[in-house]
Subunit: 998 residues, 2 copies
């Protein structure tokens, strides 16, 4: 297996990443003119890859000048050149340049510049690419220019790699010579005549395919996609029945918007959708959901009226014909399509939602055809959007500009203005005629394009979207940003986007060495958890389907706190904090819900949108057998959401030490939740205990249960948190407490009531003989059967299994394990025997109807040291979307889209499960338990402001505290304590086999 | 309109009700033999209707004897006659005699004997008929014999009726002469030559049809049966689709068994069933139900292999062809069938379950055909019974005796022995051959019968049934009782039966003058409430379908206490007491249920059989749309049954003053229920109140509700009752209290706890603006629609409307009105404004899916003085079974059978509603509000041992306290108090119109 981390790519700059030839030509021309030397473009061609000195010599020809004059001319040429370079900008990167660089990076390779030019840093800055590179070797670095190997050797040295681990990409003959001389793999760009002596040769930068140089590490996931190099998902089987799921899986997004992994030529039938955050609207009275906005990346190609498109409704299983890739590292969707007929030989495109400019989507299409072919290209804004519940748009107004198209609309219910703009730029082809058509909400520009001499037409297309919640003038802003983006050029947009992603991965990435499949699966989940998170805002939730579609209303569930946030809490706590502030901002909605239902305090919405008011309708699913809506009580009985939020705050503070947050925002949440709980509990005189009556626990197949153990224990923690906090404020921050007494009316009497309830809250003891904890009162009395047995009772595969009349409702079969979930949320509550007994008991009875189920089992299994089971559960639980084997329409309700909670859970299984991380009040436990094929599990943790990196291997655990950390970190590795100072690394030998046997 | 109460029938005895001719003949023959006088049967014929003296003169012919000898012969003849009469018995009543007498009685006519014989009282006693008659005028009463009118005039005088109001039934010429001379209507029995001068003439007593003398008062009830004379239901439309309902409606029964109103020749397909109490058995694991025992009244007639039977599956709408009647007064089923072909001209039969001998059913068939016709008569025991849930019988053993057939079996689950015996007696035909066949549980005797000279074959058939719960040797007992019964003869059985019924009606009957239809409807309901009640036992419940079939498992629901018992409490409290002792005897079952569900005390079964253990299965209905069983929570959430029982005890004691019952039996029930309630309630710290959580109120369409107002208020009363009782025992009966402290562990601490809970039990206040009381928490939030609107949402007419997914569940549409029910059970709780507002509000939203619904509205409407509405609701609510327009199989579960609760409720509407009766602690309120067409509403009340008769008329209320009463009764009539001493009558003028306007 190739470990790409042991490799680097060294890029020549000029001719590979950018083309300075024009600027040099202009400089030489100016110099020649001034000196009266003959010079033209043809003469300029001789200068490719030639140093300035040699170029001047060629220019001078047989004219002789003295050394001073020569030097002066050298200097003047450079000044002229530098002056012209001032006009260079991001748009001057060569097509495919940035893609190539980041392609190397996502393979884990180092990237460096090896450029003879002393201006290389300046040029890189002008191109906006500097940050991408790990090292820059330029004309200033060495004495001997190419073809001497010195420059490349210097780059290798900077990267701390051997020369034979380096690949050099060069467009000049001398550059290839230098690479060969350095003992590196040489890749030439250009004609055979010039670079034919390189190991590999491609015509242009855009054509370079690293996979042909360093074979990918690929594996197919069951019957699903191919996972590649730890960062790529390749779908080479196109099945109309999987259009929804694959489009979901290949989502690109940035926390502001999500753009589904569809193809540019598809429409709403193929679930094309750009779901935008903070655009809640209720179009048909059913419920509020986010809007799918008009698609500004719409593009089709035709030849003689014949569309050139992947037929959405035909099966294709041939990677040579159609390949769709998701680049996890940089959130890019790729498509390579080789139509079986027509003049287009290949259609290669990619698109991404910019992580740098969140309102921007960029798309590049490359069409390979014969020079002179005439193609009809249509692009624009497709306003015929896929919408789950009604038409969200009114007053849809088109705007047609010479250089741009735009569509402005208001949402149906709230009248929120939304604007989408689109700009296109075409290279490599000549547009002979164009017209704009406006038809049924489609605003399209049609062009007659003649393929140029290179046989490749490159079309860059950007789309921007703004709503009135983002800016005051969405239309103006959309147009401005789109125009600026197209001016900056695709390479530049991509570079900035990549840098933003790099910063995130720096924190979030978890590396698994020795198991490419698990690595890719894990990163796929981290990726989706990232793009689901509104990192840019503190007033928005993480949707249960992220921004992958409108399902689940773009709203937060308990998933946000329990599944999505732990990753952020442990890696980028600022983002976790943002999301928790969202809960603070929506307190009023929670208060309104509580009041409406007859409670006090804050009863958080089961489905929480912008205001925090309950979005969950009374009737959620439809009974497929009767067509009748089902009254599920997610909205009024599933109370654990409120204590869950408090427990997450509790965990956040433990991990981050951010006590300011608690005092400033958290206290109000904590007290209002405690107040709610105190108004919810019932005291039963018969046993002298407080009970929680009529609940719906996480296992939604059993509604209307009492004393659901998960809810009870979360309630206990939430009350304890409120009691502690109140006591703390009493002792330490009376001012803040007085403020809260005034603002929310909290009082000593309430404090006493919380203590009373907490003191007599019902306790569910494990069964004295079996150790099994009854999920809720009476659960054991239900029919004891298995999920498989129940399956045979289904009359329709789409039946909802739960309340009120589903097959599981009256049995012990559960959707997900509340008791095992409790072991995750409160690992210290029970001993190993009890955990293991319950794990085994409930696993047999779990249908895993929720994607949250298997990851939790996986996490607990890993902590139990049952690593093989944990691994299987981890893979199975983390591939629900990758394998796309779920039905997006069970019970007649569309619930497709990414299972973001499972994505967040994957991080937990990896780090908290296999990594064995448990942050305690004054130390961190790290008890890794690795599957045997894993050579290393590496991840970072942000602990109370310190950055701790963990490299867990089968025989040792390496812990490093970043030098920037404010203090030492104490880590308990399998029970042995180590305190590591900032900048230090500590390696503890372990015997994992022994640990597993414990 | 004829008021039959103003008429009487005077019966001659000899030749009309019995035939003493044989006994006279034997006496004369003995005398003639002793005196050497010529005499034979032919000579005896001359003596018919001739006095003893004249007979002796005829016998002597021309022989002369002195006065002493003559007197001596007279004396000797009489002694010989009386000696022979010693051999007379019940079997010597003439066919149809008793039927004719009771036919007059059920029309409300007086009946008297007008017999020349001085032995009439003796003969009547031998026949067992004495008790049937209101007056007896015999040879001792007057000087002048018939044809003098004196005897009949004397009878009329005894009856206090004018001669022209009397009908005389005579077989002798001189008797007819006497009747005519008395100015009475003369009815002759016999040949025209003898009695042709009478106003009406019939051939035999059995042929006398009073309807041809005094026309019936008949009216058809909508499209349903004809109601006749206040006591008869005539069904003259035979519709196969209504076989079940009509058979149910025409049920005969006696509280021990119920025999459906089917025809003798029908089998299980036509729902023939004899449901026997105390035979619970679970044959197929589904649930326990009572057994339908083999049918010993099975009988068919054939001619040349052609059956003569009402084809169960053909429609007949012609009273001349087929008439089926239910005699409400005496619980007799009649059928008159005129086959369209074959030799049988008419088949007339009747049957009844004896109210005198509860193990006995008797049937008489009369077949009219040509003398000499040969018919095949098959009768016996049809063991192919109709059973709802499995075969309840094992070890079915036939027993064949010369004179009887019997079948003995064990029940499948419990092995309870059951035996059925059958005996037949045939008159008027000669049996030429017979054989017994035994085939597939049918044990039949086939006879070749030649029709006799009279052209009428009379077959009497009796069936007896005993189970091992009744006697030790059921088979022996069945046979013995059947044989004795056939020996006593049908007339005798009928007479005893009629006397038993008379005694019941004396107490229970409610008379409506001026509205025959309402009268019949009401009595029909009283009748069914009577025969549903196990009057003979104190260990059996009143089934929700009585003994009309196996549905509802022969078990008690809350219906028993709230609907069936009030009639008994107010009229025959001993019977109410029996049924309440049943609740005492089943306390252990209620304790087991409470314990099983985690409560203390007694949680009475929703469906209560012999042990009081819960018979209600978790899954009751089937969802007809999916075929899936529905989990209804009748068994664990409908807790009001327990407080309902206590409230009924409370009411029983208030009406009867039977404090012994409370100390002896009631206290244990009351305390165990209070204990249960205390273990059931929850205290909500949020409002400082105790709540009832997760209920199912009487309105079963809304399960899982909190603080259902009916349940809360019944709970409040039950707790108050326990508190009062405990306090009373503390003060007055410390011994009994100590006993209870020891046996059931009741304690002062519990007493304090009950007081605490009672003191802080939640109160549901009427809405301050609308006065509407919310049926349960959140009811007002449900969709406000109408039953009609919901009907359009049904996908299948058999759908269950309620929980969990029925059309009504999420709406304000209710099955029956819990709030209005509360006004019935606790009339003093709310003022008129509130009652009226809620009445109107809930009525619009009530689907009346329960037969209990309309009567309760009717009762409340009557009390509100909204008499026309009340009347409509009363008629509609009391005719659910009469009109037979309900579907016996909604939701796929057979729930046919009599709605006994509605039957009991009819009494309440009449007496408590229209009669305005409300028994308070020290007086009775009587505030009648009569429909304008009612001339009089008359009923009796048993108040603390006193018998109060009420005659409420439009302008006055007459109150009479029976002389046997232990003390005076204080009655408040529309607010004015009257105290009436035993034997006194008080008449209070009222202006009902004014009262109604109040």
């Amino acid at each position: 297996m190739t470990d790409h981390r042991q490799h680097a790519v060294i890029f020549d700059l000029d001719g590979v990443l950018t083309d300075t030839a024009e600027f040099h030509y202009l400089a030489w021309q100016q110099l020649a003119d001034a000196e009266g030397l003959p010079f033209d473009r043809e003469a300029n061609e001789q200068l490719r890859g030639v140093s300035r000195r040699d170029s001047l010599l060629l220019l001078l020809g047989d004219r002789e000048v003295d050394q001073d004059h020569f030097d002066d001319m050298m200097e003047r040429k450079n000044e002229l050149y530098l002056t012209s370079l001032e006009r260079m900008g991001p748009q001057d990167a060569l097509p495919g340049a940035v893609a190539l660089v980041i392609d190397a990076k996502r393979r884990g390779m180092k990237v460096a510049i090896g450029s003879s030019s002393k201006n290389a840093p300046f040029v890189l800055d002008r191109l906006g690419l500097t940050g991408l590179f790990d090292a820059i070797a330029d004309g200033n670095s060495v004495q001997d220019a190419k073809p001497a190997p010195d420059l490349f050797l210097a780059a290798a040295q900077m990267l701390d790699l051997a020369p034979d681990a380096c690949i050099v990409i060069e467009d000049a003959e001398s550059g290839v010579d230098a690479a060969l001389a350095a003992g590196m793999t040489a890749v030439g760009i250009g004609p055979k005549a010039r670079v034919g002596h390189a190991h590999h040769r491609f015509l242009t930068t855009a054509d370079v395919d690293l996979a042909r140089i360093l074979p990918c590490d690929e594996a197919r996931l069951e019957q699903g996609p191919v996972l590649s190099d730890g960062w790529v998902v390749v779908d080479d089987h196109h099945d109309p029945g999987q259009i929804v799921n694959v489009a979901t899986s290949h989502l690109t997004g940035n926390g502001y918007l999500g753009y589904r992994g569809t193809l540019p030529e598809w429409g709403r039938d193929a679930t094309v959708g750009c779901t935008v955050s903070d655009t809640w609207d209720n179009a048909d009275g059913k419920w509020s959901e986010l809007c799918n906005v008009p698609n500004g990346l719409f593009a089709t190609w035709e030849h003689l009226g014949q569309p050139i498109a992947v037929p959405a409704h035909e099966v294709t299983s041939d990677r040579d014909l159609l390949e769709r890739r998701l680049d996890i590292r940089y959130g890019r969707q790729h498509r390579r399509y080789a139509p079986s007929q027509g003049p287009i030989r290949q259609l290669v495109d990619e698109r991404f939602a910019s992580m740098d400019e969140r309102h921007l989507l960029a798309q590049r299409q490359r069409v390979f055809a014969a020079p002179g072919d005439r193609l009809t290209f249509t692009s624009g804004i497709d306003g015929q959007v896929w919408s789950l519940n009604g038409d969200h748009f009114a007053f849809v107004e088109p705007q047609i500009h010479d250089d741009a198209l735009a569509m402005r609309m208001n949402t149906t219910e709230r009248g929120l203005p939304i604007a989408v703009a689109q700009v296109v730029r075409i290279r490599g082809g000549q547009v002979h005629a164009e017209r704009v058509i406006e038809d049924e909400r489609q605003l399209l520009r049609v062009m007659d394009v003649e393929v140029g001499d290179d046989g490749v037409v490159i079309v860059d297309q950007v789309m921007t979207v703004y709503s009135g919640n983002d800016v005051e003038y969405p239309l103006r802003e959309s147009l401005a940003v789109a125009r600026a983006a197209i001016d900056d050029g695709y390479e530049s947009l991509l570079a900035r986007h990549a840098l933003a992603w790099d910063a995130l991965w720096e924190r979030v990435d978890v590396q698994i060495t020795g198991d490419q499949l698990a690595q890719t699966v894990l990163r796929y989940n981290l990726y989706h958890n990232i793009i689901a998170t509104p990192m840019h805002a503190d007033h928005l939730p993480i949707g249960a389907r992220g921004l992958s579609c409108q399902a689940y209303q773009g709203a937060a569930f308990w998933d946000q706190e329990v599944f999505n946030l732990p990753m952020w809490v442990h890696t980028v706590p600022e983002i976790a904090r943002n999301v928790m502030i969202y809960r603070y901002r929506t307190l009023d909605g929670a208060r309104r819900k509580a009041e409406r239902l007859g409670y006090a305090g804050a009863f958080y919405a089961w489905i929480s949108g912008d205001t925090g008011d309950e979005l969950c309708p009374d009737f959620f699913f439809v009974d497929v057998l009767t067509g009748r809506p089902i009254r599920n009580h997610f909205n009024d009985w599933q109370i654990h959401i409120s204590p869950d939020i408090v427990c997450t705050i509790d965990g956040y503070v433990r991990v981050t030490g951010d006590h300011d947050f608690v005092a400033g925002h958290g206290a109000e949440i904590v007290f209002e939740v405690a107040r709610f709980l105190a108004s919810f509990v019932y005291y039963r005189p018969a046993d002298g205990l407080y009970h929680l009556i009529r609940l719906l626990g996480p296992d939604e197949y059993h509604e209307n249960v009492d004393d659901n153990v998960f809810t009870v224990e979360q309630t206990r923690v939430a009350l304890a948190e409120a009691i502690t906090l109140y006591g703390d404020l009493q002792g330490n921050d009376e001012n803040r407490l007085n403020e809260l007494r005034e603002t929310i009316g909290v009082s000593d009497e309430e404090y006493e009531a919380w203590k009373e309830i907490h003191g007599s809250l019902v306790t569910i003891e494990p069964h004295p003989e079996t150790n099994i904890i009854e999920q809720f009162v009476g659960y054991f009395d239900h029919e004891d059967t298995t999920p498989d047995a129940l399956k045979t009772r289904l009359q329709d595969p789409n039946e909802y299994w739960g309340w009120p009349n589903g097959v599981a409702h009256h049995t012990q079969v559960i959707k997900q394990p509340d008791v095992v979930q409790l072991f995750v949320n409160q690992p210290e509550l029970f001993g190993r025997d009890i955990i293991e007994a319950n794990f085994d008991y409930y696993l047999q009875r779990t249908q895993h109807g929720s994607s949250l189920s298997r990851p939790m089992y996986g996490l607990v299994a890993a902590r139990l040291g049952r690593v093989r089971e944990a691994y299987d559960l981890f893979i199975k639980g983390s591939t629900v979307d990758l394998l796309a084997d779920h039905n997006p329409m069970p019970g007649g309700t569309f619930i497709g889209g990414i299972h973001t909670a499972a994505c967040g859970a994957a991080w937990q299984v990896a780090v908290l499960g296999f990594g064995g991380v448990h942050v305690r009040d004054d130390h961190v436990e790290v008890d890794p338990r690795l599957p045997e094929q894993w050579e290393e599990l590496a991840f970072g943790l942000s602990i109370r402001g310190c950055w701790l990196r963990v490299h867990a291997r089968q025989d040792e655990i390496e812990l490093a505290v970043d030098a920037s950390s404010p203090g030492p970190v104490t880590v308990l590795v399998h029970g042995r304590s180590t305190t590591i100072e900032p900048g230090d690394t500590a390696t503890t030998p372990v015997d994992l086999a022994t640990e597993l046997a414990r």
